[in-house]
């Protein structure tokens, strides 16, 4: 603590330590809030499908209604909520999970109420894995904290059958 540079360094590092302790207390206080997020998919409709000529795989064009209300997730230990809809089905070898739509929600923009068509193309791996199977559309979200573990949860979805 002899020189001014020494004092300046010590003070700044003490302030960083104080901030770390406050962030840890923030995480601990986050557990006392109850969250009740809502995410529902309804009314899935297949608009059409084709076989991609180059990839030799099925591509499906679908639409569904999506209603989500994530505003109860936004206590002070939440930075963003990453909300996404996946289509899940299983074939002989794998369990497929295709992300169809996603969005990053902030505190002011915490609800979604739309009729959606996918942001990303719903392409299968081959031409055989999806036909005749039940495809389930599942909404999931990841709550990104200020301090703590990333938490992923899923909501209720609906399913549709891709007919041959």
């Amino acid at each position: 603590m002899q020189t001014w540079g020494n004092r300046g360094t010590t003070i700044v590092s003490y302030a960083v330590t104080v901030t770390a302790v406050l962030a840890a207390l923030n995480m601990l206080s986050g557990f006392m809030f109850t969250v009740s997020p809502i995410a529902e998919i309804s009314n899935p409709r297949v608009l059409g499908w084709r076989v991609h000529p180059y990839l030799r795989a099925d591509q499906v064009n679908i639409t569904f209604d999506f209603h989500a209300d994530m505003s109860s997730l936004f206590h002070w230990n939440t930075k963003y909520v990453y909300l996404y809809v996946t289509a899940e089905y299983s074939s002989l070898k794998w369990n497929h999970s295709v992300v169809l739509w996603d969005r990053i929600l902030t505190k002011d923009n915490a609800t979604v109420d739309l009729t959606l068509s996918p942001k990303y193309e719903f392409t299968d791996l081959t031409t055989s894995a999806m036909r005749g199977k039940t495809v389930e559309l599942v909404p999931s979200w990841m709550a990104m904290p200020v301090c703590g573990l990333l938490r992923t949860q899923s909501g209720h979805g609906t399913s549709f059958v891709l007919r041959q």
Partner: protein, 93 residues
């Protein structure tokens, strides 16, 4: 003349060191400032549900404690060390 007074003021603050009692006091003061701004900032952020407010209050506390404790203000130089003058050294031989 104004410049030389500023120069001597600057030299006093940044080039002169605090004495040991003053260093001890400065260390105590910055810890108190940072901890109290930390507590107040956490409570403010909790009631506003916004952690950016907490960070902002801690940064203000950091600025205040840098201002109070980094330059060697005259308050921290009240117990100067006593060095032997050259006559006293000579007379001891």
């Amino acid at each position: 003349m104004m410049v030389s007074r500023l120069n001597e003021w600057w030299t006093g603050l940044m080039k002169t060191e605090m004495d040991f009692k003053g260093q001890e006091q400065a260390e105590f003061i910055f810890k108190i400032i940072l901890i109290s701004f930390g507590v107040v900032g956490w409570l403010a952020g909790f009631f506003q549900q916004d952690f950016r407010l907490t960070i902002f209050v801690v940064l203000v506390g950091l600025a205040v404690s840098l201002l109070v404790c980094v330059p060697s203000w005259p308050i921290f130089r009240r117990h100067p060390l006593y060095f032997l003058s050259s006559e006293e050294i000579e007379s001891r031989h």
